[in-house]
Amino acid sequence: EVAGAPGAPLDVHSLDANKDYVIISWKQPAVDGGSPILGYFVDRCEVGMTHWAQCNDTPVKFARFPVTGLVEGRSYVFRVRAVNKAGMSHPSRVSEPVDAMDPADRTRKGTSAPWTGQIIVTEEEPVEGVVPGRPCDLSVIEATKNYVVLSWKPPGDKGHEGVMYYVEKCVSGTDSWQRVNTEIPVKSPRFALFDLAEGKSYRFRVRCCNSAGVGEPSEPTEATTVGDKLDIPSAPGR
């Protein structure tokens, strides 16, 4: 017990969960211990395990945080600690378990051993691959000074196999686009970005790729300022 430390945060729960991230939200502690709360640390623990891992290196100011790096299909519980200049609070009460899976899979939940059907082999004529089109309806669905969450739809033209995505960012006022996930394209039509500079304004865009190559970028988002305010621009065309 540190004298002057805040009380434990309250009501830790998940706002959104899928196989790529879980957005955790909480309420600020009833007492701040006499000095303002500087931020929060989120911890996660896989259900059935005893090891708690801290999710963020630096305290987050907003009472919500997207936790990434989860193993698809596994179940996690979360807790939050508050910090002020005197020190760290006790951890909050633990959240209900959250499954790191897409909503469609969750509704079909229950467990079952794997089953594999007969493999069907077909011969295909080699043709020049077709590079996929632009992703649509890119929007910023969450934005705080610590992270931005993007969401989009796959390109309209069907028939492309194994489409994946590259996310790009650009400091507003410049025309210098920089790829965020330089190594591995993402499979899902969404992405959580960290490590944005506070006070700077960014635009984002997304490109599709497949085995034939990388396509044209989507329409860029409106400029989003990284700051303490939840600055969520309206989706394009609205």
């Binding site: 698809e72 899979d105 079909r108 007969q118 493999i119 011969e123 196999e161």
Partner: protein, 97 residues
């Protein structure tokens, strides 16, 4: 085993697409193997989940040495299983002048 695996033949130089439907909760991890060795995705070997949810292996521009036993192995916390097929790559038709 090799003897009762279904056989497919493709022509040298063409692509061979293997599709396998897999169920299981939690979502199984899938490994494709050829003659017991894991297939590493690369320029000629594409591995992906197609739009209908089939696990797919595509071998591009098949060569004679792609002939062999192909396995789709699925595992999750509750168990593991596999399906197998035998692929043979036949040479292009000999042209007589």
């Amino acid at each position: 085993s090799k003897t009762n695996a279904k056989k497919f033949t493709v022509t040298e130089g063409k692509h061979a697409k293997f599709r396998c439907y897999v169920t299981g909760k939690p979502k199984p991890e899938i490994v494709w193997k050829k003659d017991g060795e894991n297939i590493v995705p690369g320029r000629r070997f594409l591995i992906f989940e197609d739009r209908e949810g089939y696990y797919t292996l595509k071998v591009l521009y098949c060569k004679q040495q792609d002939t062999g036993l192909y396995i789709c192995a699925a595992s999750n916390a509750l168990g593991n299983t596999l399906s197998a097929v035998q692929l043979s790559v036949k040479g292009p038709p000999v042209r007589f002048k």
